[in-house]
Symmetry: C2
């Protein structure tokens, strides 16, 4: 959509960028944020928004894509090699904030976008964790009696849980990563093997 044949002008690109950024922020705080709010937050007229995006769904999609891209970018910097336990801890450390921030945005996306599109957007990060878990399994430190997809879901679920707890004031940001890793590492431990102690490699 948008560019038929002529190239966009610089100010148009600037507007689009401002809108997508504002959408990510507004929907991140309130998944029901109206397009008027988003346009205002972007410092742009509502009509301008409609000049670039045909519908609300398109705006949500763009905002979600942006967030996923940023997340992917941030996660690219994480070293997932070496001891799977430490690698998982590093992954949690790097991603739980992202999950927290994108939480409400995800709610908006789930309301406005078709389910297939959501899975498509998440396929990148999901693959990352899957291969890490698979490696941990082959090295015998992660359990093999539960499907990988389930373990991935548990990880994300616990991170969401932490986000909820922080919002409710029952958990502080400093403790979040520690709680998450302690929980998930235990959950991933094969039955019969001892749960790893936290002091391993701080």
């Amino acid at each position: 959509m948008g560019s038929r044949s002529t190239v966009k002008r610089a100010d148009a690109l600037r507007s689009i960028d401002a809108i997508v950024k504002a959408a990510a922020e507004c929907l991140g705080q309130n998944p029901e944020a109206s397009l008027s709010e988003i346009a205002r937050a972007a410092g742009v007229g509502r009509v301008t928004l409609y000049a670039h995006f045909a519908s609300r769904a398109e705006v949500v999609d763009a905002a979600m894509s942006r967030a996923v891209d940023r997340g992917n970018q941030a996660l690219d910097a994480v070293d997932l090699a070496g001891d799977p336990l430490l690698a998982l801890a590093r992954y949690v450390e790097a991603s739980w904030r992202l999950v927290d921030q994108a939480r409400a945005l995800l709610v908006a996306a789930q309301r406005e976008l078709p389910p297939g599109r959501i899975r498509e957007l998440h396929s990148g990060p999901a693959a990352r964790v899957e291969t890490l878990i698979a490696r941990g399994r082959s090295e015998g430190v992660f359990r093999t009696d539960l499907p990988i997809a389930w373990l991935v879901n548990v990880l994300h679920s616990v991170m969401h849980s932490a986000a909820d707890e922080i919002r409710a004031g029952r958990l502080t940001s400093e403790h979040a990563a520690g709680h998450i890793t302690a929980t998930v590492l235990a959950a991933f431990t094969p039955p019969g093997r001892p749960v790893p102690e936290p002091g391993a490699g701080t």
Copy 2:
């Protein structure tokens, strides 16, 4: 609200009951269900609904209260004595379906009701799990390096996760309880101690 001094008539009570029941069902399928839909599902006119409930929030509250009551009632039948591991397994077996059913309803409640009210409604079931976990801790089978509130949240979070997986078609109902208990029992295991094997007491 409702009864000022005179007693309600039998048909009024019947209507109210039908409305609350329909609300629980409709909101359970779609948290955005309108009051018109709910009234229609209850076999009652929209005006009648407003005669008994002043606002949408009141309807949601009533539906949520009903669901919680029913859940509490079902959980009363669960024996939480004996080996905490087995007790937790029994609890999961009995409650994950309830969590699944009440999921969308909870979403509606979170949108319409003040946060304090939600916690108040959940205090019953939460207390049940808390005492069970506390007992398991004193017996040395559950970890003490994480707050109880966090462990409770992990349990519920994993159950929600299972509900999501079932909806996505990645998990079947038969396997759900087993996956949940295997995951949670491992997550609750104290660091340094072996994760319990599933064959313990089937």
